[in-house]
């Protein structure tokens, strides 16, 4: 059975390599080990979203029971999105859980994740803090997601105000990512973030 998993992944790998999306640099896939059980995916942030211009790297683990069970996928690149954990990169997406079907492939999974970036479902969140901001303070959500895309995924938009607040916390000895995470959670309120860190 493991043989079916490996032979399918090999075929799918070819499918992705031949796909139109790879020509457009919209998705990418590469091997991590020789056993074909672990792969690395990459998706481009969709246009007209806060993720535009960013490249997001994914960890893909292929179970022995593939394709009868879905691949295990998580974001390695940090991302600010209601359905993706800002801490672990875990993804809440139905096709990676109960709605998986054996006819789906690595290519369709990557394209579905790209679609998820373009259409968040805040009512079925993986990261409650992000989902709350998405619903309650949407402009701040867009700013934060853009800033994270710039900081972690190579996105083009810089936010000097965010950077200077992060620098203030760094000056107090806080790690850059921890500073960014707390400020993002506290809607970029420096006072509240400081309180949260030092109380």
């Amino acid at each position: 059975m493991a043989n079916m998993a490996v032979s399918r992944i090999k075929r799918e790998f070819k499918e992705v390599m031949r796909s139109e999306e790879i020509v457009q640099c919209s998705i990418k896939i590469e091997l991590v080990n020789d056993s074909w059980t672990e792969l690395r995916g990459e998706i481009a942030g969709p246009p007209d979203t806060p993720y535009e211009g960013g490249k997001f790297v994914l960890e893909i683990k292929v179970p022995e029971t593939y394709p009868f069970n879905p691949p295990k996928v998580r974001f390695i690149t940090r991302i600010w999105h209601p359905n993706i954990s800002s801490v672990t990169g875990a993804i809440c997406l139905d096709i990676l859980k109960d709605n998986w079907a054996a006819a789906m492939t690595l290519r369709t999974v990557l394209l579905s994740l790209q679609a998820l970036l373009a259409a968040a479902e805040p009512d079925d969140p993986q990261d409650a803090v992000v989902a709350y901001q998405f619903k309650d303070k949407h402009e701040l959500f867009v700013l934060t997601a853009r800033h994270w895309t710039n900081a972690y995924a190579g996105g083009p938009h810089t936010f000097p105000d965010c950077d200077s607040k992060i620098q203030r916390l760094k000056d107090m000895g806080i790690d850059e990512h921890d500073a960014r995470a707390v400020l993002s959670k506290e809607n970029w309120n420096l006072e509240k973030a400081t309180e949260c860190l030092f109380s």
Binding site: M1, A2, M4, S7, R8, R11, E12, E64, T65, P67, F68, N69, A101, A102, A103
Partner: protein, 152 residues
């Protein structure tokens, strides 16, 4: 309708072509026909439980509750009523099995789902033990069949 006449007598794998599936009782011959006693059927494929790996499937089969065993037996019974034909190379049909992504060979045994999608028998049987939907179109595998077998 098409499936109605095939129920219960299409277990023969080596039928000359898939048209024979539609002839109903004419295709009955010898002990290959008719629903088999489900407990004596071919050994269970190894992949019924999402969490099990090939190495402990035998162990988990013995550790299963009676209820689970009955459920699986019923599902095997249900799956066995889905018609099997041989791939005839007709270009209008799918050329490869989307589960293993291997091309069908002419005369290879394929199972037909009610939505008329076809798969290798061993591939789709493994899948149907997990989910009673077509992997291609997500159509439920004949809800009517399902209820009649799961409630009896």
């Amino acid at each position: 309708m098409l499936l109605g006449c095939t129920m219960g007598n299409c277990l023969k794998i080596n039928s000359p072509d898939d048209i024979s599936l539609l002839r109903g009782s004419e295709s009955i011959s010898g002990q290959d026909s008719g629903p088999m006693p489900i407990y004596q059927h071919e050994p269970l494929p190894q992949m019924f439980y999402p969490a099990s790996s090939a190495s402990h499937s035998a162990a988990s089969a013995t550790n299963m509750s009676e209820e689970d065993q009955i459920k699986i037996a019923k599902r095997i019974g249900l799956v066995q009523h889905l018609p099997i034909g041989t791939y005839d190379g007709n270009l209008k049909k799918a050329r490869e099995c989307v589960i293993c992504m291997v091309e069908f060979c002419v005369d290879e045994a394929v199972r037909y789902l009610p939505c008329m999608h076809i798969y290798h028998v061993h591939c789709i049987d493994d899948w149907l033990m997990r989910s009673l939907t077509c992997p291609s179109c997500l159509e439920p595998v004949d809800a009517a069949l399902l209820t009649s077998y799961e409630t009896t």
